[in-house]
Subunit: 229 residues, 2 copies
């Protein structure tokens, strides 16, 4: 119950700023998210933003965390499902949201995933792993492994679409990668060139799922994990 404080009423809110940042991100890509741009969208002087956030890094951090919040809210899968399915659902949702919504930002700014929503997602993950029968230590390590994989996948895909602007749909990305690989000199890199065509198609959700399955295989095999299904 915060007492109403003196001074003029706030014309903005943290959420409005994040919404504007999000809009900018969708329209112009990660590079296009600037304090001045956000302020312009809100019809406000650039400095007004600094009333709500201490600096740009804070805005980006909150932006990424708000995206993670959406994932957390949508991914409370049924605890009755097999743990592999629950983890897969969480991982896919994370990748998708980060990729289309905040991928560039998450990495370009070196934004640490410290926010409350990031913690909540981590908590859910630990919960599922514990329910799968992993000891706390193994669960912690597994959670870090899975996080690493998701972030790496996002990071690789983001790094590949160099130009600014909104991220192209998956089909376009695959096509672009195929042509890029077609230029690999076979004389020097015979194996890379040989798998070029197939590799191009692997930069997709399907390859992500394949890798995830291998990781889950490894986790299930690692002793402390459950062995059923």
């Amino acid at each position: 119950m915060t007492r109403s404080r003196p001074g003029p009423r706030r014309a903005l809110s943290e959420q409005q700023i994040l919404d504007a940042a999000h809009r900018l991100l969708a329209e112009r890509g990660a590079e296009g998210v600037s304090i001045r741009g956000i302020a312009a969208q809100l019809g406000v002087a650039p400095n007004a933003i600094y009333t709500y956030f201490p600096d740009k890094a804070a805005v980006l951090g909150a932006l990424v965390d708000s995206v993670l919040g959406r994932v957390g809210r949508e991914c409370f899968a049924d605890p009755a499902e097999p743990w592999r399915d629950r983890i897969t659902a969480l991982a896919v949702a994370l990748r998708t949201e980060l990729l289309v919504d905040a991928g560039g930002v998450a990495l370009m700014g070196g934004v640490p995933l410290n926010g409350p929503n990031a913690l909540a997602v981590g908590e859910t993950l630990l919960e599922v792993l514990a329910a799968a029968g992993l000891e706390p230590e193994a669960a912690a390590r597994a959670s870090y492994l899975l996080t690493t994989y998701v972030l790496g996948a996002v990071s690789l895909e983001v790094a590949e679409l160099e130009q600014p602007g909104p991220p192209p749909p998956e089909g376009e990305r695959v096509a672009a990668r195929a042509t890029a690989f077609a230029t690999v000199p076979a004389a020097h890199y015979p194996r890379s060139a040989a798998v070029a065509a197939t590799m191009a198609t692997y930069i997709t959700t399907e390859q992500f799922l394949w890798g995830l399955d291998r990781i889950l295989d490894g986790l299930a095999q690692s002793g402390t994990g459950t062995r059923t299904a």
Copy 2:
């Protein structure tokens, strides 16, 4: 044998520019790598750089690739060794070099890993996987999986050391993470808080190796891979 061309002799070289960039990276961190900074180090006007590279992204790309070159040169492990050891050596070397040398740059700039040295490393990886008995398709997928993991690990660690400057040694990073985790509110995130102490220590080479082992387990188990050791 390139014929000598007209015009004044070049005062610089691509390598000198990359060396200066590298020096700047080590001293001031990823944010400190600027065209103007590089030019200043070389005692040259900023625009002179544009004679050698079309834009900043090209400089960063070449910088990252040169770091990868060092990895490739140092990591032609003995083909007689077990494939797991060879892959582990390659992955560890990659992570180490990217982390201490070009981690921030590799991600902050969204630099695509397209350069010749990146291709060479990928080629080596495919070679080892083929030697391990994987079919070309499985090898391609496995190579992508491993790359993703390494990049994710680097990306996570880089994101955590927020401040600019040279990356602190691993011990300091672990300590910083321990204190950060100590502030996690146990009421809201019981599991995260419970594993805080141990998780802090996992952001290390050791956790990286643990995850890598799980992945290699999954690969070995996935049918097409070799089953021996």
